[in-house]
């Protein structure tokens, strides 16, 4: 994501005819908006919103009990409303304008100040770029809700959404994509230098760390703070609408092309490569998940296949701009195995109630993907943040990358834990985080929203 040279390359191709005339002394021409890149980025941005609204809302909404389906969908909707405002107000600026210590940006672009109709980021309108990034911020928060459905107060959730997005998402986005410490090639003035690691070059094409590790880990923290649902483990919790979950998975799959291939920020060969590995990893993960189910329970489930697809998509996310088809196969297969172990066994043993497996799918999948990026990154495909050097993983002789990836996962975990604890504390100050047990029993739809899913 967001590599400089890549953009420049495209630009120079386009301006080739001009350059060809030996304007040797002339300054580099101002970049000109590329309509194809812009078309793809607007499409991608729309696709990433589709992933959350209605995609994720359906994916999650189908798995809870009928009395909580609207409430579950409302969490996603709430994130979209709140984070849009906080993003435009300060987050875009803090993530993508300037740099302070490699950790956070500045406030120069508050309320999109200075972002005009003709401002460009690479060869696309900065307005589009800011919206593309916003859609990532929205879905990241919404992902967390999978862990706390059926019990978290909607008021608490709305407040939490904004706070978490500011305190956790923004610095991570800056560090990885905004030119901060984790992605910087050699960040002498950064917090990294302070800790003795000025050079990071972590690879996270479309958000393995920023989106999935962060949301998954934060989900687990929330679960541990809030405790399980009433009667958890006693009553079977039967999904109210598995078709909805499947439709949601389908929309996530389709939208994820915008998520990953859109992260090339251009309509080019890198986008095409990301598109391909995204699809392959998703299908492979689903297939492997299904095979495990055959072995484990004889019956392949539709929720299983849907979960497999999502797990595959999660894991390929950080890798999508770096690996080739081999990487896609291995990443897809690995994440299915590891994630299945987590949701089917580890959760049972550890007894935490991560209702819809936000941790088991997103933190685990994001980590698997981030680490394997350090193994399979093929320098013939992606670049480091400086845009000049091809990004190589262990298989291409650069095993250090695996260490860097592990360290960056660690940083994401630490930021997520600390940030979520702070957010939880702040939310608790203004409102109760959990609904009353009696409200939980009746269902959040009626008690929180005064609505019922259907007429029967």
């Amino acid at each position: 994501m967001k590599r400089f040279l890549r953009a420049t390359l495209t630009a120079s191709l386009l301006t080739l005819p001009l350059l060809a005339f030996g304007q040797d002394a002339a300054p580099a021409p101002a970049p000109v908006l590329n309509s194809g890149d812009t078309a793809w980025m607007m499409t991608s941005t729309a696709l990433v919103l589709l992933m959350t609204i209605p995609g994720l809302a359906l994916f999650y909404g189908g798995m809870v009990r009928r009395k909580n389906i609207l409430s579950t969908m409302y969490y996603s909707m709430g994130s979209a409303m709140v984070v849009t405002v906080t993003w435009v107000a300060i987050q875009y600026s803090l993530a993508f304008s300037g740099d302070n210590g490699g950790v956070i940006g500045n406030l120069d672009k508050m309320f999109l100040h200075g972002v005009g109709r003709d401002s460009l980021t690479y060869l696309v309108p900065e307005n589009v770029y800011s919206m593309f990034q916003l859609m990532f911020a929205i879905i990241t928060v919404a992902l967390i809700s999978g862990a706390v459905v059926e019990r978290m107060s909607i008021t608490a959730w709305l407040v939490f959404s904004g706070l978490w997005s500011i305190l956790v998402y923004t610095p991570l986005a800056h560090m990885v994509w905004g030119g901060g410490w984790l992605s910087a090639f050699d960040a002498k003035d950064s917090i990294g230098a302070f800790f003795g690691v000025p050079k990071m070059n972590a690879l996270d094409f479309a958000g393995g760390l920023v989106v999935h590790v962060s949301s998954g880990v934060s989900a687990l923290v929330l679960v541990l703070l809030m405790g399980p649902r009433v009667r958890y483990g006693k009553d079977p919790i039967i999904p109210n609408n598995i078709s909805f979950t499947f439709i949601g998975a389908g929309l996530l799959w389709v939208g994820w092309f915008g998520f990953n291939a859109g992260s090339a920020l251009a309509s080019n060969g890198l986008a095409g490569s990301a598109f391909m590995v995204t699809h392959v990893a998703a299908a492979v993960a689903a297939l492997v998940w299904v095979l495990i189910e055959y072995v484990h329970h004889k019956k392949p489930t539709l929720i299983g296949a849907s979960t497999g697809v999502v797990a595959g998509l999660v894991a390929i996310t950080p890798a999508s701009g770096y690996v080739d088809v081999t990487g896609a196969f291995v990443i897809g297969a690995s994440v299915a195995i590891v994630s299945y172990l987590f949701v089917a066994f580890v959760k049972k043993v550890l007894k935490y109630d991560d209702s819809l497996d936000a941790f088991g799918v997103h933190a685990v999948g994001g980590t698997v993907g981030a680490l394997l990026t350090g193994v399979f990154a093929n320098p013939a495909i992606g670049y480091y943040f400086d845009g000049a050097t091809g990004a190589a993983g262990g298989l291409y002789g650069n095993w250090t990358q695996l260490g860097i990836q592990a360290l960056s996962v660690l940083v994401a975990i630490v930021v997520s834990i600390v940030g979520t604890l702070i957010c939880y504390g702040l939310v608790s100050l203004v409102t109760k985080v959990r609904v009353e047990p009696q409200e939980e029993v009746i269902g959040l739809d009626l008690t929180q929203h005064g609505e019922k899913q259907g007429d029967r």
Binding site: P236, H297, I303, A344, K348
Partner: protein, 112 residues
């Protein structure tokens, strides 16, 4: 008049009703219910876990019939509902004191 109430497997519904109608009794009311009994619960899966459901979908067939028809109706139901496996269902018979047909205001057996 007696109420004959049968709780049976949903997949036998159409056949049973056809059989009852063949006996000349047409008024029947059907309710979707869930049963709990000796039948082993249905096992559902969710992400690697198995849940044994407490309740199994059944249909309840209710017919208020003339006294003399009761045994025939029971036979008709039993013969069609029978599979020999646990969960085939039960039939209960109870008394009905009066009946009214709304359209004609007929009372008693005439209304059945």
């Amino acid at each position: 008049m007696k109420r004959v109430e049968a709780i049976v497997r949903p997949e036998r519904l159409e056949d049973i009703v056809e059989n009852m109608e063949a006996l000349g009794h047409s008024g029947i009311t059907v309710t979707q219910v869930e049963g709990h009994g000796r039948q082993k619960g249905i096992v559902e899966q969710f992400r690697g876990k198995e849940y044994k459901l407490m309740f199994i979908p059944k249909v309840k067939i209710e017919a208020v019939v003339k006294d003399e028809l009761v045994e025939k109706i029971i036979d008709a139901i039993v013969s069609t509902a029978f599979t020999g496996n646990v969960g085939d269902g039960k039939i209960f018979v109870s008394n009905v004191e009066d009946a009214v047909r709304v359209r004609t205001k007929d009372r008693g057996v005439a209304a059945v």
